[in-house]
Amino acid sequence: MSAPVPDYVADLPKTELLRIIVALSTEVYAMADRMRGIEDILAARGIDLASLDAPTDPAAFDEKRKRARDDFVQRVFGSLTTLG
């Protein structure tokens, strides 16, 4: 009972989507680069990073992480809120 998926964004400017992808790539690259830098610094000081993969509650229950997530979403997808 699954219907074919329509083209939801038929009239959405493709340039806008490209803008989002570029913005997202920039964010991802910058964060990955910063993370590598931090990991190098910590490893050089003998700090074990295993706890980074410890179980974590959703950001909805951690105000600081929720704010960081919402800021990120706004930076990447914010332009969509002004379409049309």
């Binding site: 219907a3 009239d11 979403v73 809120t81």
Partner: protein
């Protein structure tokens, strides 16, 4: 059973939730504002606004609307994919945990011979891959996914609907109750807490969901008797319960099944017993734009029976099934917000009906 995810997987889900929040709290209100301005500027009559094709022709051209719908669909698919990926690493442990026989209160009775209806086996409800029965981890995947789907509106407990139901049946003495389509079980917990002395029973079509519900109840110290059964043909004696209810079940079944479920609910209720159906409000009780947006789920979110339920005259259906004192109670997030994690506003409709004392 601990379903806390690694930070890596949780971060991916957090981003999905963040995009859903952007759609729900920023983009959709702007789509509504444009719709309202257009409707007012053109003095569009309400009958036209309730014409889905007409409204779709107007709102559907708005790039903001298109962006909201595209993101909604993509994030829904991504949400399930990420939850499944997060649990895959623990699959062996989780499955053996679900299969482990643990002593405790309550019970689990599965029926491998139960014939599952085609509408159930063939629908991937809310786009959950495999529907609500194929994957042995259906329960854990459903619980984590739905919390993100709902933007954690009711915190970690998922108790929102149970509390809404209690708002509607408040103060009524209950000694033995039955939840139809109990799923993973947690929606029942507020009812269990409100009636700690009552005998609690839950039925569902899905063995996978029931196994999870049973394990979850044991983990939480709850005593519930779970049985695999079709709510359309309950393998239970007549006049057995003083409360029978279901939460967000009837919009997942065809109208013909709804009619059979109502008759079965009436049969197993004792005379004077109460039936309650909690769901989202009917389209006609919503403004045209909200109804239009809600209806999108019918064709785009694995909800093929959504429209049928929300256009049904439930009051008449209840009367036709044999209930008396049929009434609606509206419960909004205003009544619950000090207990949850709310953003925005939410509303449930509870349809209540009583089994006549003369009936049996």
């Amino acid at each position: 059973m601990d379903l806390t995810l690694s930070r890596y997987h949780q971060a991916r889900l957090d981003l999905v939730s963040g995009i859903k929040a952007l759609v729900g709290y920023q983009i959709s209100p702007k789509v509504r504002a444009r719709y309202e301005k257009w409707a007012a500027d053109n003095a569009v009559p309400e009958a036209k606004l309730r014409d889905r094709a007409f409204l779709g022709g107007q709102v559907g051209r708005d790039p903001l609307y298109q962006a909201s719908r595209g993101l909604q669909r993509i994030t829904q698919e991504m949400m399930w994919r990420e939850v499944a990926a997060a649990l895959e690493a623990q699959r062996r442990e989780l499955e053996s945990d679900l299969d482990r026989v643990v002593s405790g209160n309550g019970s689990l009775t599965l029926d491998p011979s139960l014939k599952l209806p085609a509408y159930f086996t063939e629908t991937e409800f809310h786009l959950q891959p495999g529907g609500l029965w194929r994957d042995p981890l259906t329960g854990p995947i459903y619980e984590i996914g739905v919390q993100h789907f709902n933007l954690h509106r009711f915190g970690k407990s998922g108790a929102e609907m149970g509390l809404a139901l209690l708002q509607a049946v408040a103060g009524r003495p209950v000694t033995r109750f039955l939840e139809l389509g109990c799923g993973p079980g947690y929606k029942m917990y507020p009812v269990l807490d409100a009636y700690p002395q009552a005998e609690a029973n839950g039925i569902d079509l899905s063995a996978a969901l029931l196994k999870y519900a049973h394990r979850r109840a044991l983990d939480h110290g709850k005593t519930v008797h779970y049985r695999q059964m079709n709510a359309e043909a309950l393998d239970l004696p007549a006049n057995r319960f003083d409360l029978v209810y279901n939460m967000i079940l009837l919009h997942e079944v065809p109208v013909a099944a709804t009619r059979r479920i109502l008759r079965e609910a009436l049969r197993v209720l004792e005379p004077g017993g109460l039936y309650a159906d909690l769901d989202l409000p009917a389209y006609r009780d919503l403004d045209p734009f909200t109804a239009f947006m809600m209806d999108w789920d019918t064709d785009n979110n694995g909800e093929p029976f959504w429209r049928g339920y929300h256009e049904l005259d439930m009051k008449q259906e209840m009367i036709d099934a044999g209930f008396t004192d049929v009434r609606f109670v509206q419960v909004t997030s205003d009544a619950l917000k000090n207990q949850g994690n709310y953003q925005g506003k939410w509303s449930y409709r509870v349809v209540l009906g009583t089994k006549p004392r003369a009936a049996s």
